[in-house]
């Protein structure tokens, strides 16, 4: 156990710092070069220098660096310190791109990867449907191959920021006779066409970045399929894995924790800081135990990854762990808020927005979303019990998986 970076890594850190001081922030040109263009130009330089898009081959616009989680951590740290733009965020870069690189056709990689990681095109994810939530394999959206086009009909739901997206990667049923899981294909769809109807949903906290997407005779070329027909389920699994890790990171917990401490410092209670109230101190100390456990657990996983080893069962706990700790945090925050719990927060992003009291009301609700999105806590528990602890699979889920097996056997 050694928490210091070694000399090579410290040298690397210096290089990154040098690069950043040369290129960010960009010189003020006195003209109205907009922020977005400046960021784009910076990213191109950072990719060239090998600091961004590291896992992506050069031929698709990346910097193709050997996997080194410590270097990656250093880059994140230094870029954050300099407030420099990092890799483009969003479901396209984080979910679709790895999927394309692993399972996509050559032309798909050529066409989609670079503009996606540069933020030139935006994606949304078309997985969930009204009757396919936890039971994702139950998607009913039909895609029929008619000539050289897929014709798609159905409805997606909980689609994040669909109204901004240029394209959607989605799961459609293309082989209705095949068994439940084997009947699904993974298609790419242009969102800017007739027949695509996006309706924004308002969430409990007033935010509305979730959408319903209605697909009515929507068309996509025959070869806009990732993997083969009927392989969509397996193709999507790789992607979902990424999503789970994303939600489970310790970063959000640590941010919440810092803000909770500041809330306890600035809140007055019985004429003194809430932080000085023994009840509050004890609850804070309980929570810090969980927060640090999660933080160190993230380091452990990082270290394992750096050595190319699996982190074991703890990795499967990231999401629910973050959810649980988040709940403890917001509950204490609500107690500290008191009156302000009566007020609606202005619409805002609960992670990145400024640290005002009413933000906690939004976080109090937002953490419920975390327990639901990307696999509910109950699904997480089943996964941990089955894959981590070796307990038997849920009978219902098993039976459902085999539901259409007979007809598949007839086909083969």
């Amino acid at each position: 156990m050694d928490l210091r970076y070694d000399d090579d890594h410290e040298r690397f850190r210096t290089e990154v710092q040098t690069f950043l001081s040369a290129h960010w922030p960009p010189p003020d040109r006195g003209d109205d070069t907009d922020r977005k263009a400046q960021e784009r130009a910076f990213r191109l330089k950072a990719i060239e220098a090998g600091y961004l898009a590291r896992s992506i081959p050069r031929r698709y616009g990346g910097s193709e660096q050997p996997a080194d989680v410590l270097e990656a951590a250093i880059i994140r740290e230094e870029f954050a310190k300099a407030w420099a733009p990092g890799d483009v965020a969003g479901l396209g870069p984080s979910l679709l791109v790895p999927t394309l690189l692993e399972k996509g056709a050559e032309w798909q990689k050529q066409r989609f990867v670079q503009p996606t990681i540069m933020g030139d095109i935006m994606w949304c994810q078309g997985y969930s449907e009204p009757n396919a939530g936890s039971d994702l394999a139950n998607v009913q959206t039909r895609a029929r191959l008619m000539g050289d086009e897929w014709v798609i009909n159905g409805q997606k739901i909980w689609t994040s920021v669909a109204w901004l997206a240029d394209y959607m990667f989605c799961l459609c049923r293309t082989e209705p006779e095949a068994s439940k899981h084997a009947g699904i294909s993974y298609l790419l769809i242009d969102m800017k066409q007739p027949g695509v109807d996006v309706r924004r949903l308002k969430a409990i906290n007033g935010a509305s970045h979730f959408c319903e997407v209605f697909l009515d005779d929507v068309r996509t070329p025959a070869d806009w399929i990732v993997g083969e027909r009927g392989q969509g389920w397996d193709v999507s699994r790789a992607t979902l894995k990424h999503e789970r890790n994303m939600i489970g990171g310790a970063t959000q917990t640590l941010t919440y924790w810092d803000r909770l401490m500041r809330l306890a410092e600035r809140t007055q209670k019985d004429g003194r800081r809430a932080l000085d109230d023994p009840r509050v101190r004890d609850r804070l100390a309980v929570i810090e135990g969980y927060v640090r456990a999660q933080e160190f657990s993230a380091y452990r996983q990082l270290s394992k990854a750096a050595k190319g080893e699996k982190a074991g069962i703890v990795q499967s706990m990231n999401k629910i762990n973050g959810t649980n700790t988040g709940h403890l945090i917001v509950k204490l925050a609500l107690d500290l808020l008191g009156d302000e719990g009566l007020l609606e927060p202005e619409a805002f992003d609960p992670v990145t927005s400024p640290d005002v009291n009413t933000a906690w009301v939004a976080r109090y609700m937002q953490t419920l979303g975390a327990a639901i999105a990307g696999g509910t806590s109950n699904i997480q528990r089943s996964v941990i019990a089955e894959r981590g602890l070796g307990l038997p699979r849920d009978r219902e889920r098993d039976q459902s998986r085999q539901a259409r097996r007979p007809s598949q056997e007839r086909r083969s």
């Binding site: 969930s128 009757n131 939530g133 936890s134 039971d135 139950n138 739901i157 909980w158 949903l201 308002k202 969430a203 409990i204 007033g206 509305s208 979730f210 007055q268 209670k269 009840r279 709940h327 107690d335 808020l337 008191g338 009156d339 719990g341 009566l342 007020l343 609606e344 202005e346 009301v361 609700m365 419920l368 979303g369 327990a371 639901i372 999105a373 509910t376 806590s377 109950n378 528990r381 089943s382 849920d394 219902e396 889920r397 039976q399 459902s400 539901a403």
Partner: protein, 361 residues
């Protein structure tokens, strides 16, 4: 010895339940939730036609002359229906006048409050968790007949005709809305079925209640019981809605109610809530019959039930999955109702500390 409701009380609840189901089913409640002022005069009229505007007002002034328990039983059903409107503040204003007012004052205001032709509310809070009579700092001048200053979290201030204002020293005065010396600023209420506003009194003519100091603590206690009752109703409805959803929603080829983990979570929610029903019953009963225990059990009922309701509302959202997280579903009405019940008149932790002290610990 009978620790149970009588037939009249059960009928009262079923009448209100019937009325709410017919006149304000959840789709209608959601509309009002989203509408401008969270108040539907016709709905209020209907409620008052049932005599619910003055349940606890003495018969001599046009009320039904019943007890806090009866009022709370109605409150529970309104909570269970996420019923929008000024019932809560109205009831407390009438109680304040009934307990603290002179004969003349009662004759002036109570009949209109009882019939519902006037709406009452209370202006107690002063921000920074200052809700209690012993914490009030607002001063009245000119022998208590003129008020200058600020109150917040005043329920349905925009539609109220009669405002009972808490004053420094624990007394209360009545300000009539049409005196034109009120500056009302709607707050962005989380629970839009019970809007709140900030009220600036700009030299408002006030009518001090002669027994206000003695009555204000009692009004607070009644408020705590009503919040507990509302929380009970809301929480139990959260359980019911979750059970209905589990029996309807299919995943993996079966209704999700078949999944034992969810079943047990639903059972745990029920276990948290149902046994606590008697806690608000007793607190309400004590208000009228066991004066020594009244304040203590009001505090305990509020702390316990609003905490339980908040947790159950969270659990219900989880049990509903995505649909529970939307503004378009029914559940968020209850979630926000629980937030109100929990925060209004002071936090559960605050009232636990009071209950401990009142218990002589």
């Amino acid at each position: 010895m009978n620790f149970d409701l009588c037939e009249e009380q059960e009928m009262l609840q079923s009448t209100v339940r019937q009325f709410a189901a017919t006149e304000c089913p959840l789709p209608r409640a959601r509309e009002i939730f989203d509408a401008k002022d969270g108040h539907d005069p016709e709905l209020w009229r209907g409620l008052c036609d049932l005599g619910l505007g003055g349940i606890q007002i003495e018969e001599a002034y046009g009320g039904a002359g019943l007890e806090l328990l009866d009022l709370a039983l109605v409150g529970e059903v309104l909570g269970e229906s996420a019923f929008p409107g000024p019932f809560f503040g109205h009831a407390l204003a009438a109680l304040a006048i009934g307990l603290g007012g002179s004969e003349e004052q009662k004759r002036r205001w109570l009949p209109d409050l009882a019939s519902g032709s006037a709406i009452g509310t209370i202006a107690f809070a002063e921000g920074d968790q200052m809700w209690q009579p012993e914490q009030w700092g607002l001063e009245a001048s000119e022998g208590g007949t003129r008020i200058e200053g600020h109150k917040c979290f005043v329920p349905h201030a925009g539609t109220a005709d009669i405002v009972v204002v808490g004053l420094a020293g624990g007394g209360m005065s009545v300000v009539e809305r049409d005196c034109a010396a009120l500056d009302i600023k709607e707050s962005a209420a989380l629970d839009r079925t019970r809007r709140v506003a900030e009220v600036e009194f700009t030299g408002a003519p006030a009518h001090p209640l002669p027994e206000g100091v003695a009555a204000s603590g009692r009004v607070r206690d009644a408020g705590l019981v009503l919040l507990a009752a509302d929380a009970m109703g809301a929480a139990w409805r959260c359980v019911e809605l979750s059970v209905e959803y589990a029996n309807r929603r299919e995943q993996f080829g079966t209704t999700i109610g078949h999944f034992q983990a969810l079943k047990h979570q639903l059972a745990d929610m029920a276990i948290e809530v149902e046994p606590a029903r008697g806690l608000y019953w007793y607190a309400a009963h004590a208000f009228d019959h066991v004066p020594d225990e009244s304040a203590r059990f009001a505090a305990m009922a509020k702390a316990h039930l609003t905490d339980r309701a908040m947790q159950v509302a969270r659990d219900a959202v989880e049990a509903h999955g995505g649909i529970g997280f939307t503004w378009e579903g029914d559940l968020h009405l209850y979630f926000k109702r629980a937030m109100f019940d929990r925060a209004f008149l002071g936090s559960p932790e605050f009232h636990r500390a009071r209950a401990a002290e009142l218990g002589g610990w």
